[in-house]
């Protein structure tokens, strides 16, 4: 059933020369060579059409054949209510009633693939665009942290929000790695609304008094031999950074979910996350990358069963409510330069892999499948109302890549697309890493496979 894992053609010497350039000088001496110079030789022009990126992670791996690459069959439930949106797009309108009406803004990509079939590794890959490497796992930053790092120079004095915000991630989240902790994500749990960055209005007076006490007491602390050496450099500065945000007048408005919005966005953890994302983007106050973890898509069993607490219907409904309202609101919001927020924000929606296709498994669900999945792209210069790529009749394999590289798209390509849209040269590298291993923003290789990574430029034309 599963295609061979290693079905990729061999690198020809000629092609290697083309890619490898001068790195080949020592090729015969080295049992391993890679096109280290390809990155510098190949000149890329980042697009720079977006200023922000919102990444919605369909955690667990959404079933593509039950959503954005729908494969109708005898098992397709009636109430999917499949309808033709355009001649080449049939959607389960029953699952995505609102989103189905917003597709003119969305490009659906059906030629995505993953490298991994295990959650931890695949999730890591998607968020980092690098394979899990035990030797480097501690130093490699996630996409969001790297974007935060890239935009550090562009931060304005008035920017009070952190560059990287995430929602509903847990301890497994990949953070800043070797980069400075100021690029670490600020994670919100949107089930609750206890966000420690917001000092509730009634407590404000007391909070300010307390800060005064803290300052006074700090000046009285015993032991400071050197005058003025009272604050513990690093730890003190984290507190100062936190207070910058907490003392901003705007923060209560940003971190607020009002009741009308809450209902409109579905009243769910995911809906609330979308509201916050909208507020943060609308504030335009330093946040460049937002990542929302939409949990629960790993439906190995009872995928269509509505009496299960979490099933394909509930997840689709949550996604439909939150995402469609978010797109609507971003599109409605004009910014100071005349563009809408959606124009300035690249929205990417995908999971870590697809799911098995055809009949359901004996557990009435779908297992992990890496050879095909779908993703949604919108805003930030993406031209919507289209479907890119195609899979075979069952949705098991990509048969039409629909982009210039003539192959399926991988997490590296998605990352390059995000970097490009944000104006970041994805061929950059950081040489001075703690382990001494060069860190490339995007590696032109996965496992034994060299990959001619590039942005998915077709999305933008």
């Amino acid at each position: 059933m599963q295609p061979s894992q290693f079905h990729l053609p061999t690198l020809s010497r000629r092609r290697l020369l083309q890619i490898g350039g001068v790195a080949l000088a020592g090729f015969d001496l080295l049992p391993m060579a890679r096109p280290l110079n390809a990155t510098t030789k190949e000149s890329v022009k980042p697009r720079g059409t977006a200023e922000y990126c919102l990444f919605v992670f369909l955690q667990g791996g959404a079933s593509h054949v039950d959503s954005f690459d729908l494969k109708e069959g005898k098992g397709t439930p009636e109430d999917f209510d499949v309808k033709s949106i355009t001649p080449d797009l049939r959607m389960p309108v029953g699952l995505f009633p609102k989103l189905s009406k917003k597709l003119e803004q969305v490009a659906i990509v059906r030629s995505l693939e993953a490298w991994e079939t295990e959650h931890g590794r695949a999730t890591y890959y998607l968020h980092v665009a690098h394979q899990v490497s035990p030797a480097r796992v501690r130093e490699i930053p996630s996409l969001g942290a790297l974007i935060a790092y890239e935009f550090h120079g562009a931060r304005k004095a008035s920017d009070f929000l952190p560059p990287f915000i995430s929602m509903n991630y847990g301890p497994e989240q990949v953070k800043e790695g070797m980069l400075d902790t100021k690029f670490s994500p600020l994670n919100f749990d949107t089930k609750s609304s206890d966000w420690s960055f917001v000092v509730p209005q009634p407590e404000r007076g007391r909070f300010d008094r307390r800060l005064g006490y803290l300052k006074q007491l700090t000046s009285l602390a015993p032991g400071a031999i050197t005058p003025g050496a009272h604050s513990l450099t690093a730890l003190g500065s984290f507190q100062a950074d936190a207070l910058t945000m907490m003392n901003s007048d705007k923060i209560p408005g940003v971190l607020k979910v009002d009741e009308e919005d809450r209902k409109r966005y579905g009243g769910t953890e995911f809906g609330n996350a979308c509201i916050l994302a909208r507020n943060v983007l609308a504030a335009e106050s330093g946040t460049r990358f937002i990542s929302i973890n939409h949990k629960g898509w790993d439906l190995h069993t009872k995928i269509y069963e509505k009496n299960e607490k979490v099933n394909h219907y509930t997840l689709s409904r949550d996604l439909d409510g939150g995402l469609s309202e978010l797109l609507t609101d971003l599109d409605k919001t004009k910014t100071s330069d005349g563009r809408t927020l959606l124009d300035k924000t690249l929205v990417v929606v995908m999971g870590e892999f697809g799911r098995t296709t055809g009949d359901l498994t004996p557990g009435r669900g779908r297992d992990h499948h890496r050879f095909a999945m779908s993703g949604l792209f919108a805003g930030g210069g993406v031209k919507g109302g289209r479907v890119l790529g195609a899979t075979d009749a069952e949705g098991t394999k990509v048969v039409k890549a629909a982009w210039s590289k003539k192959r399926s798209m991988y997490p590296e390509d998605v990352a390059a697309t995000i970097y490009s849209a944000l104006g970041i040269d994805w061929t950059k590298e950081i040489k001075t890493t703690p382990s001494g291993r060069v860190f490339e923003y995007i590696e032109f290789q996965s496992g034994t496979n060299f990959l001619d990574v590039g942005e998915i430029s077709e999305l933008f034309v």
């Binding site: 391993m32 420690s196 803290l214 513990l232 507190q239 034994t448």
Partner: protein, 630 residues
Amino acid sequence: MAGKHPILRVRNGRSVTSRSKCYMIDYMGRSIQRSFAVVLLSLTGSLLLAQGPDHPAMPRGSNKTELSRLTVASSSALPYFEPKPAVRQNYIDDFIFEKIRKNKIPQAPLASDIEYLRRVSLDVIGRLPEPEKIRQFVKDTDPKKREKLVDEMMAISTKGVTSKPSTPFLDRWTYFLSDLFRVNNLQGPGRTLLYNYLRNSLTVNQPYDELVRELLTASARSNFDSAPVNFLIRFYIDQPDQSTVNPEDTYDELAIRTARMFLGVNLECISCHDGKNHLEKINLWLTERKRADLWRQAAFFGKVRMYRPYGDLVDEFVLNNEGTGYDTKSKSVVRLPRYKADTTPTFILTGEHPQPGEDPREAFARFLTTNVQFARTTVNYVWAELFGTGIVDPPTGFDLNRYGSTSEGGLGILTLQADLLDALSKDFQDHHYDLRHLIRTIVTSSTYQLSHRVQGPWKDEYAGYFSRHLVRRLPAEELWDAVSDATGVYDEIPSGDFGQKVKYVMQTVSPEDIPGKLRSALSSFGLDDRNLGARSLSGSPVQASILLNSDLVKQKLKLDAKGRLTQLMRAEPPKTNQQIVEDIFLATLSRFPSKAESEFGVKLISETHDAGAEDLLWTLLNRPEFVLNY
């Protein structure tokens, strides 16, 4: 569309297999200099040059530089105490002091009683000392009081006890073992069984080698009713269907995990590629190891069969000895295809094979626990736990070809304190792998008791001399338990699978137990999820905001939460404001307030009463000093 992919699979024309990107850069050999001048690049790119033959290369991946920097940054701002001269306490000091003298490294004096009590309490029992304990300890004039304290903390009394003894020491070290063994809900309710098993082992002070042998050789019809088998179960690797186990991937995983925990080496490197031509600048011992060496090591588990007989989507497993052996033809889910090779079980350190008829796991357990590297690795893990950094650091970073070598070996001296580590290991073996003995020996040495303050110029490269105590942030669990103890207001945390409720994070079976909101806060403090993630001790604005303003903290500060403040403010007979201030200082910063601090606190409480007490407690929790173990 396979044939059309311009994705390129590289073959070099000579060897067909064995490479993964993780080591190629090293192989390409860039930016790392060898010999005497070691260039350490800090994260911000600044250059630090350590010259001269005396200082060893800082092994990459070690956190010593980071700790040294935090120590330098915080040392002069931490409270000053009258230091005591450091005199030799035990053999550890001989090794440490000798090298300090020889290389003229600035050395700290002995930490004060106050500092020692906070430090040793956090390290040995994971908790802050109670105010009464601090007063009593400071007053005690017994010259042996530090040793006495350590024995007290480790003791377990069963006399007159009708339920199972529970002490902070057991909480803290069961947590340590659960961390090391990565206990989590991959074992289902089996995690709780294993947790209790480890706890019992510590309670009766079972020799550690015996415990490890039990874990490695256990079999059971169900991991839901047999404890030790959960150790191996934890590391199953599934086929993509998530319902059947991939045997060879699981064997590899078991070999990698056990080598990491018990031998301090990372075989993961050679799970995808041979060491040669990849690891020359990382680990010379590994350069001599091939993928097939890992498979032969993994083959000790080749008779293991793990499967789900009770429902293919229920993680309840049988683990028995009906496995059919290691088969290199089997398809891997997580690694490159294997090549054909001899897979006779072979101990990777010595080349030993099982005796004819001997169960391969029994053989492995025997080879392992009688090898000195097992003792070294264990000692080093415990040292790292107590000092924040191992003698070999990271503790999985042993290079056995260069261990103990004082010659450069092309990569710099490997282990500055190998002689000490060997002496500790021998002592550990001589005392039949007694963990309490090991902990006691370390924390009663003068080395452990040194202050963080030194006179004279300091370089980060000195960190490996342990000539001053390195300051570190409290890890997430310790930090939260410290907030609970300081305020005297506790959470009710469900722990394990049998309806138990606990007060301390350090009493939980695994991180999944911690309720969502608290877990999310603790993950900001670098909580280890015992999966792909790792514990982090770095700081962040989010952490600061949690202590400043999270509801989780604020609700513990309220006088009506019936915690420490209530007891202090409503005491009968009433306490003076000065006594109250002193108690709040002792409960948070584990030290007495200075005169000025005391006056400040007294004024605050006399002016604003209950609110003032709450404010004082809040203020002290937000002093950076509170989150430090110094």
